[in-house]
Symmetry: C2
């Protein structure tokens, strides 16, 4: 691996974190490299930059495509596929959230649903099912919230984040205001 020091440090870090993030070292490194690169890279550029085998790069790129984390570009006059990552970090965030939900949450949600349909065959099972119901309820709430929030455009999403916990102040204010407005003039605060 022969990269400028900052790039190299970033790439190595992504490699190390990869396993914690549910991808492997190579995939992490490839992603990091593409993320930093000012222009699309082809597979051989990656082989060169990271010093790993061609087939490993191919598999890594395949996995990143499954994650929707790379974009395929065709440079004019070059048959080879070239790859970049989406530019916009908010877009990347959305993709990662979506994919992690799909992989880490949805399967459990559907298993829970299945198990909650069944007839418990003992007191033990009745209790177990109640616990599953609690878990299911929470996950479903989170999932609904996420489905909702992910549709927001970036500007609104950013505004919401910036507001942080102060939304609740707003929430409480709402109740007051709703009363106030209802008792006074026309509608202003919806719902």
């Amino acid at each position: 691996m022969n990269l400028p020091p900052l790039t190299q440090a970033f790439v190595l870090h992504f490699g190390e974190m990869g396993s914690r993030w549910g991808i492997n070292r190579t995939v992490g490194q490839i992603y990091a490299l593409l993320y930093l690169s000012p222009r699309p890279l082809c597979a051989d550029d990656i082989v060169e930059a990271l010093g790993i085998s061609r087939s490993n790069v191919s598999m890594g790129l395949r996995e990143l495509q499954a994650w929707n984390l790379v974009i395929l570009k065709h440079l004019p006059g070059d048959r080879r596929d070239h790859f970049t990552t989406p530019e916009d970090v908010w877009q990347i965030l959305r993709i990662i959230a979506e994919e992690r939900k799909k992989r880490e949450v949805d399967p459990t949600l559907s298993v829970l649903r299945g198990l909650l349909m069944q007839q418990p065959s003992s007191e033990e099972e009745r209790h177990a099912q109640a616990r599953m119901a609690e878990m299911h309820g929470l996950i479903e709430r989170l999932a609904t919230w996420y489905e909702d929030v992910k549709r927001l455009d970036t500007e609104r999403l950013a505004a919401l984040l910036a507001l942080g916990a102060r939304v609740t102040r707003l929430l409480e204010a709402k109740d007051k205001v709703v009363g106030l407005v209802r008792g006074g003039r026309g509608a202003a605060a919806g719902e």
Copy 2:
């Protein structure tokens, strides 16, 4: 493994998902078992229930303790440690969020900070650093939001979730109302 069918299905599922969640199969299974159990279990109960070695259980419990996901109970007249999970699923959610942040986000945040302090030594590096700055900015925003939200009590948190994307309506309403209230009667909406 000899468990009632619903329990067994849940335990096996957690085992399979374990690797996606950053824990291993055994740890997933132990957690699932404790989560469903109506009473605290000791290590040997777990060996018995899951059919795995005593030392494996010991390591698994140790890891779950590192995650703060189990509670140690001492039953009167029994020297052995017994384990449960926190009862409240919201509490569990908080713990998982905290631990995942600590493991999956904080290290990257600190590496990014370090790299952003350095002097870029070329145009390439300057660009790479700009990309890192974008990533750092986003992650820091998310982290701040999280720090903020995690302090909410469960009731408020639940209310916020339930509101979902509709908060933005409220946000927009706020602007209107603030004007309206300012131009009309006494203060109602804070901030």
